[in-house]
């Protein structure tokens, strides 16, 4: 985006310069495009803090999985998608499947700091979980893909990951006799092609939902479901520690992009919005379901334990222009930190085992 690079501090400097000339009231600062006026402070009034019951109500589990209109759920699509998801023949080496990096054994991640791709080479970022991805607003750590269907085809083709050109994959799958009737059942009259492949995988992925955790039982009224310590952690999560400003709702994310001050050179979302200072080093806020099973943490896998994660937030991270304004030292006591960790552990469910499907030959 050439020519699209300005930030708020430039505007403020300009506003102050104008104020010095005594023309502030009518100043309009044009940057060649839309015209941005000065920023006013507005009194929003004092909002009464929400009571615990109102806060808890924001964390109720949804009753149904959302599927998009253009790729609605059918059991045939989900069953085919599951086979494709676990099929190593989707990679050029026939050695890696989607499940290699997004494995049910590790909370649908891989338990590694960063992913491992084609030729066992390390990738740049931590493999994210795909749990609750049906609720995702945007995909990948840097938000470069808009839909789960696009996302499903991304790692398959990526040279560093499964390294499989789609035309070659379609030819390979078409040569496996038992796939043909499965595609026909899921997509009557259509062929094995990138669109049906992506639709099937995305449909299966949307069915991967975190199961009921002790936290859900507590939200629904069972006071004995979690410890008093964890309850205090939940209050901190929504209060002093400000976690819920980003990790909000039942899946604990609003899918927003924030630079949380990790000392990594990766610009993340900034690659796609280079003129927006707050997007430099910004990564998508991950959900926190099954978080106790998903170490190591962060987009780069740089923190091994939840305790280290809390310490990072408590310190506020690297102070730089891109760092989210919400990131600042929290001043948490050792007890408060341990309460937060106790709370986070209540988000793990008793995941029932996932059976690996018998694959077509």
């Amino acid at each position: 985006m050439p020519g699209f690079s300005f930030d708020r501090s430039t505007l403020f400097v300009a506003a102050i310069a104008a104020a010095g000339l005594g023309i502030f009231g009518s100043t309009r600062i044009s940057l060649g495009n839309a015209i941005v006026g000065e920023t006013h402070r507005v009194d929003l009034g004092q909002k009464a803090p929400s009571g615990i019951d109102a806060i808890k109500a924001q964390y109720r589990r949804p009753l149904t999985i959302p599927f998009p209109k253009n790729n609605s759920f059918t059991p045939e699509k989900a069953a085919l998608g599951k086979k494709l998801y676990f099929d190593t023949r989707l990679s050029v080496s026939s050695a890696q499947s989607c499940a290699s990096c997004h494995s049910p054994g590790f909370g649908w991640g891989d338990g590694l700091e960063v992913g491992v791709g084609h030729g066992m080479a390390k990738l740049g970022r931590h493999s994210p979980t795909i749990v609750n991805t049906a609720w995702g607003a945007i995909f990948m750590w840097d938000g470069r893909l808009a839909t789960l269907e696009e996302q499903a085809l991304g790692p398959i083709q990526s040279a560093g990951e499964m390294n499989m050109p789609l035309d070659r994959l379609v030819a390979r799958l078409s040569a496996i006799p038992e796939y043909k009737p499965l595609f026909e059942a899921a997509f009557p009259g259509q062929e094995i092609n990138p669109k049906t492949l992506a639709s099937a995988i995305a449909t299966y992925e949307r069915t991967i939902v975190s199961e009921r955790a002790p936290f859900d039982a507590w939200i629904e009224g069972n006071e004995k479901a979690i410890s008093e310590e964890a309850k205090r952690g939940f209050v901190l999560f929504n209060g002093k520690a400000t976690c819920s400003a980003c990790h909000e709702g039942w899946n604990f994310t609003n899918d927003g992009f924030q630079d949380i001050g990790l000392p990594s050179a990766d610009v993340g979302r900034g690659e796609f919005l280079p003129g927006v200072i707050k997007m430099k080093h910004a990564f998508k806020t991950p959900g926190l379901r099954e978080i106790g099973r998903r170490s190591p943490y962060m987009h780069d896998g740089s923190l091994a334990t939840l305790e280290q994660v809390i310490d990072h937030y408590d310190g506020g991270g690297v102070d730089r222009p891109s760092r989210a304004d919400l990131m600042k030292p929290l001043g948490l006591s050792a007890q408060e930190k341990s309460e937060l960790v106790s709370f986070l552990k209540t988000l793990s469910s008793d995941l029932s085992p996932t059976a690996v499907p018998v694959l077509p030959r």
Binding site: R8, S9, R28, I35, V36, G37, E38, L44, A245, K278
Partner: protein
């Protein structure tokens, strides 16, 4: 930090005390824009009011009407007027569900 200092300076100088004009206002409470679309005449302003509890970063990359408000703290408002006729996609860079269309007419 520097930005914050500048911001306070503007406020302390009493320079930012301006009532919201009769512009059309877009609210941001609850991480959503109060309207999905809005029609406005060329040269007129929309007021983007952050009445939410977290910062937002309102922007557009639509050709001819690009702007970027940067991190807009809760309790502040900024006016934006559009010079080119056409459809402007306005987004929050932080929150991907915050999207709206502004139709700029002659």
């Amino acid at each position: 930090m520097r930005k914050l200092a500048l911001f306070s300076l503007v406020i302390l100088s009493g320079l930012s005390v301006g009532a919201l004009a009769a512009n059309q206002i877009i609210h941001q409470q609850g991480r959503v824009f109060s309207s999905e679309s809005m029609t406005i005449k060329k040269g007129e302003a929309i007021t983007f009011l952050n009445d939410d509890s977290v910062p937002h970063n309102i922007m557009s990359a639509s050709k001819g009407n690009e702007f970027n408000l940067g991190s807009q703290p809760p309790g502040t408002s900024t006016d934006v007027s559009f010079k080119d006729v056409g459809d402007v996609q306005v987004l929050c860079a932080i929150h991907p569900r915050m999207k709206m269309m502004v139709k700029v007419t002659d």
